[in-house]
C-alpha cells in the first residue's frame, strides 16, 4: 500500500498544474463553506452574547421582540415606559436580587443615550462573562457625568473630559439640544462588540435634569402640537435633524420616539394631519463638530410637550424636582435564584397595577435569531453548491486524465497490480486531492480571519473569534472528503473496466 501511496503522489505531482487547480477549486469551496459557517457562528455568538447574566428584561406591555430590540439592541422604539414607582416596587420583590433601570429616548449625534444606575456597570454581562469595563475613567456618578461606548469614543474622537451635548430624540441628528445641560465625559468603556459600544450612558438624574432644563424653557402649553417650538440655539457639535424638506413633519413619524421620562403610550401620537409649523422643520445641516448654521429649532418637541400633557398624570409631577425621573423605559432584573425567573416573569406579565411585559433574554434572542435564520440556510446552500462545483471539477480532471493513463494502468497490471490496486490508486488520488483541498481551505479561512478580523470588526461590528472547528465544520469537511473519495470511484471503476478489457495492451 505504501507503494500505491507513493505512486499516487508522484502521479499527481507529474500532473502538477491539473492537481493544483483541482486542489485550489476544492480549497476555495471549502473556504467558502467553512468561512460561512464561521461567520454564521460568530454572528450568532455575538448575537446571543449581546446580553448575559440578566434574567428578565421588563418594559411596558408590548411585543417581546420590541422590548428586546429597543432595550438591548437600541433598535426601534420602546412600546412605552414604566413608571418609577412600578420599577421601585418590583425592585423590592423578594425574588429580585438587583435591577438595572434603562431610560432611553435621547441621543447624541446618532448614538443613543441611556440613563441608568451604577448597577449597570456592575451587573451587565455580555458574551461568556464579559463585564462592562472602563478603558479610561469610571462610572457616571453625577448628574452631568457621561460614560461613552468604545465606538462612540472612536468615531467621534471623544475622551474623558470632553464636553458633550445630548440631543433630544433618537434620529440621526437631534431634534433639539439639551444644551442647557452640558455633560462631561467621565469614562470610556472598553470595546465589547455589542450595542454597548454604540451607546452613551448617563445617570437617571442626568436624564431627568436635562429634561427639567428643557421643560423649564417656555413651552406653549397643551395644544402644543401646532405651537412653535422653543427656539433653542443649537450648540456646536450638535447636529440638526435630518429634515425632509417640505414634509409636514408629523411628530408621529415612526422613529420619532417620544422622549423618555415622558409617559407615552402607543397611539398617543398626534394624528399625522396635525398642523405643524410650516417650514419649521429645519433643513439638514451637516453634522460637523464645527459650529453650524443655526437651525431654527424644530417643532418635534411639540409632541414631547403633548405627551407630557397626555401622560398619566404627569402634569405637575415635575414640581418635586427630586432629580429622579418619573419614568424609565425598561429595566433588567437579576433574580436571587434563576429558577424564580419564570415565576417572576409570570407575575410581572399578569400584574394589573401597570401593564408590563417581562422577557427572558435568551428566549427572546432565540426567537429573534429564528426570524433571521432563513438567510443562513440560503448561504449554506450557496456554499454547498460551490463545493459540488469544486468536486465536479475534480471528477472532470481525473476522468479526462484517464485515457492518457491507460498505458500506465497496463504497466501496473503487467508488473502484478490487480484491478483493485488500480482502483485504490485512483480513489486514493481523489481522496488526497479532496483532503489537501480541505486542509488548504481551512488554513485559508484562518488566514483570512487572522488578517481580516480587525477590518471585519471595524466594518460590521461582528467579532469573529478565531476558534477551533465546530461540529458543523467538521461534518462539512467529512462530507467534502467523503464525496471526494466517492467521486474517485467513478474514474477508478472506468479504469478497472479498461484494465480488464484492455488486458495488457491498451488499444490506444
Amino acid at each position: 500500500m505504501g507503494t500505491i501511496l507513493r505512486l499516487a503522489l508522484q502521479s499527481l505531482r507529474s500532473r502538477f498544474l491539473t492537481s493544483f487547480l483541482t486542489v485550489a477549486s476544492i480549497a476555495l469551496s471549502v473556504t467558502l463553506l467553512v468561512g460561512i459557517e464561521h461567520v454564521r457562528a460568530g454572528v450568532r455568538e455575538s448575537f446571543a452574547g449581546t446580553i448575559r447574566g440578566v434574567d428578565l428584561i421588563v418594559g411596558a406591555r408590548g411585543g417581546t421582540l420590541q422590548i428586546l430590540l429597543s432595550s438591548v439592541f437600541g433598535i426601534g422604539a420602546p412600546a412605552g415606559s414604566v413608571s418609577m414607582a412600578t420599577y421601585e416596587r418590583w425592585a423590592q420583590h423578594p425574588a429580585v436580587a438587583w435591577t438595572i433601570p434603562y431610560a432611553l429616548g435621547d441621543s447624541h449625534r446618532g448614538y443613543r443615550v441611556v440613563g441608568t444606575t451604577p448597577e449597570f456597570y456592575e451587573r451587565y454581562r455580555y458574551r461568556q462573562d464579559g463585564r462592562v469595563t472602563f478603558a479610561t475613567g469610571g462610572p457616571a456618578a453625577k448628574e452631568t457625568d457621561v460614560v461613552i461606548g468604545a465606538e462612540v469614543a472612536e468615531r467621534l474622537g471623544y475622551a474623558v473630559g470632553s464636553p458633550i451635548v445630548v440631543t433630544h430624540g433618537l434620529q440621526g441628528g437631534g431634534i433639539s439640544d439639551h444644551e442647557a445641560h452640558p455633560f462631561t465625559i467621565v469614562g470610556v468603556l472598553d470595546r465589547t462588540f455589542t450595542p454597548i459600544d454604540r451607546a452613551i450612558y448617563v445617570t437617571l438624574e442626568g436624564i431627568e435634569a436635562m429634561h427639567e432644563d428643557f421643560e423649564a424653557m417656555p413651552v406653549s402649553a397643551p395644544p402644543a402640537i401646532g405651537a412653535p417650538a422653543e427656539s433653542v440655539p443649537s450648540m456646536p457639535g450638535a447636529s440638526a435633524p435630518p429634515a425632509m424638506p417640505g414634509a409636514s413633519a408629523p411628530p408621529a413619524m415612526p422613529g420619532y420616539e417620544p422622549p423618555p421620562g415622558t409617559p407615552t403610550m402607543p397611539g398617543y401620537e398626534p394624528p399625522p394631519g396635525t398642523p405643524t409649523m410650516p417650514g419649521a422643520t429645519p433643513p439638514a445641516v451637516a453634522p460637523a463638530p464645527a459650529p453650524v448654521a443655526e437651525a431654527p429649532h424644530d417643532d418635534e418637541h411639540d409632541d414631547h410637550a403633548d405627551h407630557d400633557e397626555d401622560a398619566q398624570g404627569a402634569e405637575g409631577d415635575h414640581a418635586g424636582h427630586d432629580h429622579a425621573p418619573e419614568q424609565i423605559t425598561a429595566f433588567f432584573v437579576g433574580t436571587r435564584n434563576r429558577f424564580e425567573a419564570l415565576q417572576l416573569q409570570r407575575e410581572m406579565n399578569t400584574d394589573l397595577t401597570e401593564p408590563l411585559t417581562a422577557v427572558i433574554p435568551g428566549v427572546a434572542l432565540g426567537e429573534l435569531w429564528q426570524n433571521i435564520a432563513s438567510a443562513e440556510v440560503g448561504l449554506r446552500i450557496v456554499a454547498l453548491f460551490a463545493v459540488a462545483i469544486g468536486l465536479t471539477g475534480m471528477l472532470v480532471a481525473l476522468y479526462s486524465s484517464l485515457d492518457a493513463r491507460r498505458r500506465e494502468m497496463a504497466i501496473l497490471r503487467a508488473v502484478g497490480a490487480g484491478p483493485r490496486t488500480i482502483v485504490s490508486l485512483l480513489v486514493f488520488e481523489s481522496a488526497l486531492l479532496a483532503f489537501v483541498g480541505c486542509v488548504l481551505g481551512v488554513a485559508f479561512v484562518y488566514l483570512i480571519l487572522s488578517l481580516g478580523q480587525g477590518a471585519i470588526e471595524a466594518r460590521s461590528g461582528i467579532h469573529l473569534a478565531i476558534r477551533g472547528l465546530g461540529a458543523t465544520e467538521w461534518s462539512y469537511l467529512a462530507l467534502v472528503l467523503g464525496a471526494g473519495t466517492l467521486i474517485g470511484f467513478v474514474p477508478a471503476l472506468k479504469a478497472y473496466r479498461n484494465s480488464l478489457s484492455d488486458g495488457l495492451s491498451p488499444r490506444s
Partner: protein, 247 residues
C-alpha cells in the same frame, strides 16, 4: 525450424514446463474462440520465438499466459500452476511473483525515474521482493542496469531516454528479482535493425543470467533465426495439436 508437434511429455522433468497449454480456449464473445490451443508446451530455460500475423491471437494468448485473461476451457499451466484454477487476485499475485513482461513500447511510467521503474515489481509485490533473497533491491537494479548498458541513465527521467534505452529499462524491470518467465510482446518493433540485434543479444544474455524462460512474440519473421526455437501461432492456434519439444 526446430519445432515439432508431439504429445506433452516435458512434465517428466524435475520441474514443470514453463508454459503448458492443454485444450485452452478463450473467446471474448461466446462461440467465437480467439484462442483454441490443443497443446503447447514450452520447457524451462528456452528462448522461444512465437510468431504470427496480426489477428492470429497473439495478444490474447499473452493475456492468457500472463493471467490477465482466464481461459474459458482447458488448462493454462505456468510453471506447473494452472492459472484457470486461480482467482483473478491470485493470478495477479502469481504474475507479480513469477513473470516479467515487456511491451512493444511505452513500457515506462513517465513520472518515475529509471531506477524507480526498474524497482516497481519488487516495490509493488512482497512475493517478488522475497525472490531477491535478502539482496538489496537497489543493487539488483544497478547490476541489471549495468548488464543492459543503461547504468548511466538510472537517475534520468524516463522521458529523456531513447526508445532503445527505454526498452532495455523495460527488460531490466522484467528481469528484476529473477522471475522464471519473461514475456516480450514485440519489444523491438520500434527499433531499427542494428539496434534490434543488439537488444536481443542483451536480452538473451540477461535472461540466461537470470535463468528465465523467454517467450518472445513478434510478427517480424526476420528475427526468427536468432532464436533457438520458434512457434508459429497460426499453426498452433486452432490446430489439433501443436507441440514444442526440446531439440
Amino acid at each position: 525450424m526446430s519445432l515439432s508437434h508431439t504429445a506433452p511429455a516435458a512434465a517428466s522433468t524435475a520441474s514443470a514446463p514453463a508454459v503448458e497449454l492443454q485444450g485452452a480456449r478463450f473467446a471474448y464473445r461466446a462461440g467465437r474462440d480467439v484462442v483454441a490451443i490443443e497443446s503447447l508446451v514450452i520447457p524451462r530455460g528456452e528462448t522461444v520465438f512465437l510468431h504470427g500475423p496480426s489477428g492470429s491471437g497473439k495478444t490474447t494468448l499473452l493475456g492468457l499466459l500472463a493471467g490477465v485473461l482466464k481461459a474459458d476451457q482447458g488448462a493454462v499451466r505456468i510453471l506447473g500452476t494452472d492459472l484457470t484454477r486461480l482467482s483473478s487476485g491470485e493470478r495477479d499475485a502469481f504474475r507479480a511473483q513469477h513473470l516479467g513482461y515487456v511491451f512493444q513500447q511505452f513500457n515506462l511510467i513517465p513520472y518515475l525515474s529509471v531506477r524507480e521503474n526498474i524497482l516497481l515489481p519488487v516495490r509493488l509485490d512482497a512475493g517478488r521482493r522475497a525472490r531477491l533473497q535478502g539482496a538489496d533491491p537497489l543493487r539488483a537494479a544497478d547490476t541489471l542496469a549495468a548488464d543492459l548498458d543503461i547504468a548511466g541513465a538510472l537517475e534520468s527521467p524516463v522521458t529523456e531516454l531513447s526508445v532503445g534505452q527505454q526498452q532495455r529499462v523495460a527488460v531490466a524491470r522484467a528481469l528484476i528479482a529473477s522471475p522464471e518467465l519473461v514475456i516480450c510482446d514485440e519489444p523491438t518493433s520500434a527499433l531499427d535493425s542494428d539496434r534490434r540485434e543488439r537488444f536481443l543479444q542483451l536480452l538473451f544474455k540477461s535472461c540466461a543470467k537470470a535463468g528465465a524462460t523467454l517467450v518472445f512474440v513478434s510478427h517480424d519473421m526476420s528475427l526468427q533465426p536468432l532464436f533457438a526455437r520458434a512457434v508459429s501461432l497460426p499453426e498452433v492456434n486452432r490446430a489439433s495439436a501443436v507441440h514444442l519439444v526440446e531439440n
